[in-house]
Symmetry: C2
Subunit: 143 residues, 2 copies
């Protein structure tokens, strides 16, 4: 049983074939798939998985904090990634505006700055979102 499966069972969820397929897809994906993509990949494992179950399962996982849900600009549909350790929470995303790829990065400096800004404004930090949009540097030919 994978770690994600175990956490689901611990949370009281019944382990169905459909859920197992969806969890496996999530664990095997490092590309922040959309619901549609999870649905397609899970369908390849177990063709009985319906899109409604994918939505419902991702919703549950989100509530349990076992996945992170993102709404990157230029895309109307939500994207997901597994979120097992709280340590891993503090990463952010660079979206390649040309390929659509999503890269992850971390920055201690950034985390410190977020806390500082929030504190200075008199607020307690609940969460923060940080997304960079860019494209790969082109090599410039020298003149």
């Amino acid at each position: 049983m994978t770690e994600l499966e175990k956490k689901c069972v611990d949370a009281g969820l019944k382990m169905t074939d459909q859920r197992r397929a969806i969890l496996r897809v999530l664990e095997d994906s490092d590309d922040h798939p959309t619901v549609e993509t999870v649905y397609n990949r899970a369908g390849a494992i177990d063709s009985s998985v319906s899109i409604a179950t994918v939505y419902r399962t991702l919703g549950l996982l989100d509530e349990l904090g076992l996945v992170l849900k993102h709404d990157f600009g230029n895309s109307s549909s939500a994207r997901f990634e597994v979120h097992l350790d709280d340590d891993h929470h503090h990463h952010h995303h660079l979206v390649d505006t040309e390929s659509g790829d999503v890269l992850e990065f971390e920055s201690e400096e950034l985390e410190a700055l977020v806390h500082k800004i929030c504190d200075e404004m008199g607020y307690e930090l609940v969460d923060h979102v940080f997304e960079i949009y860019g494209h790969k540097k082109k090599i410039k030919k020298s003149a």
Copy 2:
């Protein structure tokens, strides 16, 4: 003629009563209104404004870079703010998770950090999104 109106005319847009009402609402709002809110406020000025025109006008303004469109978490609908100067581009938002209010802030440090991170990853910066979610600090009674 307001600055926003002028920029629209300069861009070749015809100035209709409906657009004037919508532009005025945007100029008078500092609370990042949703489409629905802009529609309601514009309707109070000119009851002939339809929601379709609000969507179309905000879409045009967005393309022209005259408004900024945001998708804050926990809210399914987009929110807008006027964006006249590029200087004003580099502000970010703190969303009060209790009241829903949106506060703006700027940080030179943050902008520098964004550039540094992007550069180190080998990317050219196109845009970035930074949102803080938090709630007002509560005064703690001393023990």
